[in-house]
Amino acid sequence: MDLIFEGILKAFFLLFTFDPEVMGITLLSLEVSGAATLISLLIGISAGTIIALAEFPGRKIIVSLVNTGMGLPPVVVGLFVTIFLWRNGPLGFLGILFTPLAMIIAQAVIATPIVMGITLAAIQALPKNLRLQIMALGATRLQMVWILVKEAKLPLLAGVMAGFGGVISEVGASIMVGGNIKGYSRVLTTATVMETSRGNFEVAIALGIILLLLAFFINWILTRIQQKERPR
């Protein structure tokens, strides 16, 4: 138990002295997961909305695939992305294996189905005639989608938080495609694993606490946005 206590102390120590390495790791975690979440937002919300509104043969299969994708094991994603990106793989010429960019890609692949699935459900939960009403107001297709997305803001923001939560805490794929390189592709989760395997439990706990604080802070902001829209 005092290990945890020591860990908490260490966490605050690292934070308040602005330990440069920890700051760097934390910032990188935020950048990588933030970028991945943003990408998953753009793709997930647009694709999810399109699938929710359109009718086409095989739609049910696509929806099942999306829902399955929500539960993709991150480690499997990491493996596949690695195979694609390594030198002798199809995208090897890009030379982006063991870079933060590769981590963003892997995390985006993990987060996108989550955001897509939740968007799909959220849009489908809107009143059936709402779409027609918006069309009757003279909206273009794009305007209609935008208005529908605004109407579904509550569940959609929950989807964003789910996507972000899924990737900020991800470690398997991040280690595989990032390489956990000091000062370059090391993030909070991968550093925690490393410190644990080295037996530096107190540092590992400290990093874990910092990760929790980061995740809480981001979700606090998102929740404020989500709940701000509650009717007065």
Partner: protein, 374 residues
């Protein structure tokens, strides 16, 4: 009607859902400034017709012309939709303030903020909801919400207004008040309106034309008086509130009038018929008079029948009295009359109705029934 182009003309309109035909309208014309009400039972196709004519759904067949131009291409449809407005049974308001809701259509059209402010204020005032401008749309009553929906629709100054049973989910006093406001707004703006209603009283009050629908088809279109009093067939008749519908045969002809044999009784009516022809007699309950026997006053009614009261049903302002005179007959009486005549079940009464008040429907062997009487 005349040489001028109708504002809206639907030709051979057909809509299929899951293979079956849910809407089949060979022709429907609406003139500018007209208010046309659609009435019919649930599932008659009113909503489908409205949505088809607003080009919100796909047509399986047929065309819709707006001011003479066929609305067919995607772009034409879009342009057309910008010139109309629609209100549904549910208000379908956006999760924002009342002001923003009413402004929605204007914002979509990219109108300048100052112009939006003016128009929104005007429409809020029209529907008596100016005081709700900054309230959240989720925190207002059902009646207020429909007012917002109407304000939102009219804010864009539509050339055609489509209303799909907008008052169905409201209670009578709210409905009444909203109807009044809507009526005055429509008269003021002279907006062409196509409206589906559930209550035929609403239709009677607001409309220039009434169309009766069933099974995806329009059975009759005409001014309210005509449709109500001269229904083209039994279905229309029963739907517009003709309570007594009797089938019989013509047994005697005399000049313009004739006698029909209905379940062993003889009823005199007016119309051009053939001997032996099958006819349907429609008697509106308002036209049936009740008297307590024995009576001494002379009556000009040729049809006088004794009968027994089978059932008395209160209907708000008046009472529906069902009699059995050898054939079923329904009369409406005021509560005053009910008291005066001490009407109650089982009482023996005498009912009478004028031969001229009966609407005769000739039943042809083939083809559609023809309605007589002017």
């Amino acid at each position: 009607m005349n040489g001028s182009r109708s504002i809206l003309e639907a030709k051979n309109l057909q809509v299929r859902k899951a293979g079956s035909l849910v809407l089949d309208v060979p022709l429907l014309r609406i003139e500018e400034g007209e208010i046309l009400s659609l009435i019919g039972p649930n599932g008659a196709g009113k909503t489908t017709l409205l949505q088809a004519m607003a080009r919100l759904i796909k047509l399986s067949q047929g065309e819709l012309c707006f001011r003479g131009e066929n609305v067919s291409s995607n772009h034409a449809q879009f342009e057309y939709r910008r010139r109309l407005a629609m209100v549904f049974q549910e208000p379908l308001l956006f999760d924002t303030t009342v002001y923003e809701n009413v402004a929605a259509g204007l914002k979509i059209r990219g109108i300048k903020k100052s112009a939006i402010q003016r128009t929104v204020a005007e429409n809020l005032k029209r529907f008596g909801i100016a005081h709700l401008a900054h309230r959240s749309a989720r925190k207002i009553s059902g009646g207020e919400a429909q007012r917002v929906a109407l304000a939102r629709a009219l804010a864009t100054q539509p050339e055609v207004l489509f209303l799909d049973e907008p008052f169905s989910s409201l209670d009578p006093p709210t409905r009444e008040s909203l109807l009044e406001d809507l009526e005055s707004v429509l008269r003021e703006t002279k907006t062409t309106t196509l409206m589906a209603v559930h209550d035929r009283m609403e239709a009677l009050r607001l409309s220039d034309l009434i169309a009766v629908m069933n099974h995806g088809r329009i059975l009759q279109v005409g001014p309210p008086g005509e449709v109500m009093n001269q229904p083209l067939d039994e279905f229309v008749a029963s739907f517009v509130g003709v309570e007594t519908i009797l089938s019989g045969q013509v047994v005697r002809k005399e000049g313009g009038s004739f006698i029909a044999s209905i379940q062993g009784h003889y009823i005199e009516a007016v119309g051009k018929v053939e001997l032996g022809e099958s006819v349907v007699l429609c008697i509106r309950p308002e036209n049936v008079t009740l008297m307590v026997p024995p009576f001494k006053e002379p009556t000009s009614a040729r049809n006088v029948f004794p009968g027994t009261i089978v059932k008395v049903t209160p209907l708000g302002l008046f009472y529906k009295v069902q009699l059995q005179c050898g054939f079923p007959l329904v009369a409406y009486v005021t509560s005053h009359s009910l008291e005066n005549l001490s009407l109650r079940e089982g009482k023996e009464m005498v009912a009478s109705f004028k031969a001229t008040s009966i609407h005769v429907v000739r039943k042809k062997e083939k083809g559609r029934p023809v309605s007589l009487n002017a």
